[in-house]
Structure formats: C-alpha cells, structure tokens
C-alpha cells in the first residue's frame, strides 16, 4: 500500500462521477487543443502563401480595405482598378527590379467557382519559379490557352489537351503546374491581355506585385511609387502582419471560449473533490487515527486532482487533435481563409502536447488546492463523528 495505490482506489470508487468529471476535463482540453492546433495550422498556411507571393511590395488601388489586401494572398476575385498606364510609371521608378500585374477573376467551370488569374507569362514564371508538371508553358505573351494548378487538374480530371472554359470561352489546357502547396495549386492562369479581353476590363489590373533591387531601399521605393502613380503600396510584411493579426484575433477569441470550457472543467474537479472530502470525512478521521499526517491527506487529494488533469489532458489532446483533423477544414472555411482550400493541416508538435498536459495538470492541481486543504484541516475527532 502506498499513496498512489490509495489515491487510485479512491479515484475509481465512484465510477460515474469519475467518468463525468474526466469527460468535462477532456472535452474542455479537447476544445482548447483543437483550436490551438487549427490556429497554428492556419498561421503556418498564411505564412506559406505570403512567401508564395514572391514580391516585396504590393501595389493596390487607393482605399482598399484589409479584406481586399488579404485577397492578394488568397487569390480571391478582386476589382480591376489599376490602369496599365500606372504600371508603366511604376516600372520606371528607380530601384524597382520587376513589377508584374495580376488580374484576379473568377469563372464557373462545371458549376464550380474557379479562380482565373491574368498574368504576364514570362515574368510570372521567373517570379514564381514555377515548374510545369505535364504539358508545356505559354509560348507567347498572348497565347489563347490556359495553364492550370495541380489541385485544379486533380479536381476536374484535366490534362493537357483538354478543354477549359473561361466565361464560356473554350480554351485549350496546355500545361499543369507542379504542386507548390500554395494558392497557385487551386487557380488557373491565362495571359493578361486575354483575361482583360474576356472580362472586358480594358487595360485594368487588380494589383501589381513589385520586387525591389535592394531591400534596404524598400521604404524609399514604396514612397516613390506612391508619388508617381495614383496607388497605395503595402509591403509583404505589412500584409502578413495584418492578416496574422486578424487571424490571431479570431484565434484568440476562439481560444478564450475554449479556456472558459477548461475553467468550467476545473470547477468540476473542485466540485467532485469537495463532494469526495465530504463523503470521506469519516475515513479521513480513521486514516488520521491510524497515523496519517495532514500532509499525507493533502497530498492524497492533490494527487487525485492531478490525475484528473493528467488523464483529462491526455484524453483531451487525443480528442482535440482528432477534432482538428475532422472539423478543422469546416471551422477555418471562412471569408479570410476561403482560398486555403487544401485545408490547413493542423499543426501538432511535442511542444503543443507538453504545453497542453502541463496546463491541464497545473490547472487541476490549482483546482485541488481547496479540497485538499479542507481534507487536511479536518480534525480527526470531528471527522469521525460523521457516519
């Protein structure tokens, strides 16, 4: 007989209460883990998309809201607002290495919305370092053809030689890009002049991605661009920061909700243990009569509480990870992340698991303090008076 054995026996005495209290802790921790995991997965995904942009500065029309700025990264449809004449001015600014225009549009293909992006074929290939998986890339800057992302090819079972339609206009699929893990996988690309013609936007583009020659001069280049052209400029870092702050706020709100659940579970532990202390008053008195110190009683209840935390944390982590994989895609399918269609992979690492277990056990120990104190301060005679 030892403390561990005594505590374990006590824990399992009231099976129902044990199971329900444990369920409370597990569910609370599961929600916490799921949201934390999803949040981390989402953040990781956004960072990857931002890198995929391959530009230092993004030129947008003046007055764009945060949502539109984010869409630059996510590949959503965007208003066509910058005339090509502005692009020429920007290309002329000293320190601008390259400036490539994007026209982000959308078409319906077999009743599914598909992003159509008008690009400058040669410049884009250099910027994005695309590799063609099958078929070939554009031969001319105004070829009437479409190059598609890997995920689109898979989704619609398309291969080079097949036909794709943009706004009802049939175009041959000439190539499929190699999977990059970014939004490019779920988009289709056509030369910019063709896109402007099909979407009847004259010479307008959605935004312009700019690379600078010297990163040190980024601020100056940004100011110069805004001086020569009637546009707004944000850096990729600002863009990333503003998205992460929105996602972070949403994530923090979700985690706060989860924390409330965890807190409720902690109160559940307090409740269960206080009931146990009350029920076992007589036994506590007897244990004292046969030599138990107050410290032993205190430790016994703390250990019982800690076990709820440990078991609940383990179960909760397992459930939470499962939940993140099952429901993560649905939960994160909102306006900000609509384009991350390959569903952010929930990020799970040892740090997350250890943090969760530590949090769970720590909170449970905190919850155990009061009941354990109550048990330890019972006087043996008082305790034994209870039948």
């Amino acid at each position: 007989m030892n403390l561990g054995k005594l505590v374990w026996r006590n824990l399992l005495r009231r099976r129902g209460r044990f199971i329900f209290t444990l369920a409370g802790v597990s569910v609370g921790m599961a929600a916490f883990v799921a949201l934390m995991t999803i949040g981390q997965g989402l953040t990781g995904e956004i960072r990857k998309q931002a890198q995929g942009l391959g530009a230092n500065l993004v030129v947008t029309p003046k007055g764009w809201c945060a949502y539109e700025q984010i869409s630059v990264l996510t590949g959503e449809q965007l208003p066509e607002a910058i005339p090509m004449s502005e692009l020429e001015k920007i290309r002329a600014v000293p320190g601008v290495k390259s400036a490539v225009p994007y026209l982000n549009e959308k078409t319906a293909f077999r009743n599914q919305p598909v992003p159509v992006i008008g690009i400058w074929p040669q410049e884009m290939r250099t910027l994005q370092k695309w590799t063609v998986e099958s078929g070939r890339y554009f031969n001319a800057p105004d070829e009437r053809a479409v190059v598609i992302g890997a995920a689109i090819a898979k989704q619609f079972q398309l291969k080079p030689g097949d036909e794709f339609t943009v706004r009802g206009k049939p175009l041959p699929v000439i190539g499929v890009l190699r999977e990059a893990g970014t939004k490019d996988d779920i988009a289709t690309f056509i030369p910019l002049p063709l896109a402007q013609q099909i979407y009847e936007v004259q010479d307008k583009v959605s935004f312009i991605a700019v690379q600078v020659t010297d990163l040190e001069q980024m601020e100056a280049v940004s100011l110069n661009i805004q001086e020569v052209a009637n546009v707004a400029v944000v850096s990729d870092k600002q863009l990333l920061a503003s998205i992460l702050s929105i996602v972070g706020t949403v994530g923090a709100a979700m985690q706060a909700v989860a924390a409330v659940g965890v807190l409720a579970a902690a109160f559940g532990i307090v409740n269960t243990l206080l009931t146990a202390v009350y029920e076992r008053q007589r036994e506590i008195g007897i244990l004292q009569a046969i030599g138990s110190t107050r410290r032993t009683l205190f430790l016994a209840f703390m250990l019982e509480s800690g076990l709820y935390g440990l078991l609940g944390g383990l179960l909760g982590t397992a459930l939470g990870v499962l939940g993140a994989y099952l429901f993560g895609p649905a939960l994160t399918d909102n306006a900000f992340t609509a384009s991350l269609r390959q569903s952010p992979t929930p990020a799970l690492d040892e740090v997350t698991i250890l943090f969760t277990l530590g949090f769970s056990v720590g909170l449970a120990l905190l919850a155990g303090l009061y009941p354990a104190y109550r048990a330890a301060k019972l006087s043996p005679v008082e305790a034994m008076r209870h039948v």
């Binding site: 007989m1 005594l6 009569a289 030599g291 110190t293 034994m384 039948v387």
Partner: protein, 229 residues
Amino acid sequence: MSEAVIALESVSKTYGSGAATTQAVSDVSMSVARGTWVAIMGPSGHGKSTLLQLIGGLDRPSAGRIVLDGAEIGSLDATKLAAVRGRKIGFVFQFFNLMPYLTALENVEIALWLGGAAKRNGRAMELLEHFGLGDKAHHLPGMLSGGQQQRVAIARALANDPDILLMDEPTGNLDSAAEAELLTLLDGLHQAGKTLLMVTHNPAVAARAERVLQVKDGRIVADTRNGTV
C-alpha cells in the same frame, strides 16, 4: 509496581464556549501501568470516548498533561502527534471502521504504510493469519462478518506493534460468539504484554479486565481492581 505507560495529570476537555460550554472531561488524573488491561465504564455521554480520544492523541486537552511512555503529547505538533498515533497506539472502534474499498490485507497494509514501517512485506499477511483470516485476506470488508471485520481492525491496530491498544466498545456490534472469540484474542494480547484500554457498556466484558474505571460527568468516580495481580 511497573512504570506508568499512560499518565494523566488534571486533564480537562471543554467543548464550545460561553453558555454553551460542555465539560466532557473534568480534572482527571490517573495512570496506567504497562501491560495492564483497563476497562472504562459509565453512562453514555459522560466522557468515556473523549477520554480515550485524548489519550490517543486524536484530540488535545483543554487543560492538564497527558504523558505517553514518558513523553508529554500535548506539546507535540500535528505531524509528531500523527506519528505517535501511527506507532505507539492502535485504535479499535465499535463500527470496525475499515476502508470499505480496500481488501482486508490492504486495510492492514495501509496502517503499515502510514506508520512508516520500513519492512512491510509479509507483516500484514502474518497478522491476518495469526487471527485466522489468512483465507479472507483478499475479501472486501463488506464480505466479512462483524467478528471477522473486528479482527481485521485489530490486525490493523497492531500493524506497527504499538504498546497501547485503545478500544471504543470493541464488542458493541458483535454477537455473543464473536464477542467471546474477541475476548480470547484480547486475553492473548494482554498476556503478550500490551496495554489495553477499553470502553465498554457490558459488565461481562469489563470483568475480563484487571482494572475497571467508572466515569460519570467527566470524572473518574470509581477505580476497582478485579482481583488478579
């Protein structure tokens, strides 16, 4: 005359305060020689159990000194007092008070653990076998008869080989056969040199002791010897 293993000097115990004050034990002085079997008798609610609890270090006196085996226990802190309860004293109660969720063997082992016995292996089983309960070692208390439960309780009380056994109506819940068995068992412990202090209502049980104390209104009103010694 052998040395006093238990000595009380003007011990009083009051509960509550002001008008609601109850004097459970009033100015009791007495001593018990090592190896004596003492019965404490008296009407219910006159302080017998309180006296036993004070001697056993379960409660502290409001006034006076209690000396166990030469050591004053009133000045001990809670942890040292717990150690005294674990090693020097064995408690036996009327309602057996075994842990219902532990087997007979575990009930004895828990006392060994709490008493801090260094070598516990086999000791619990030895005790149970000694009291004829070897085959019941893995039974839960609920599966045992009253007499068997009380024998487990005595085995538990003896786990750390204490000098003193304090018993609060140990036969109060036993039928006559089990009572006779228990008294035989206590005879054996007495012969082995244990000091036994037993609260009882039953004169036939008290007659087995060497010395009988009559308690009334928290005082010892009579102290008689039963002829032996």
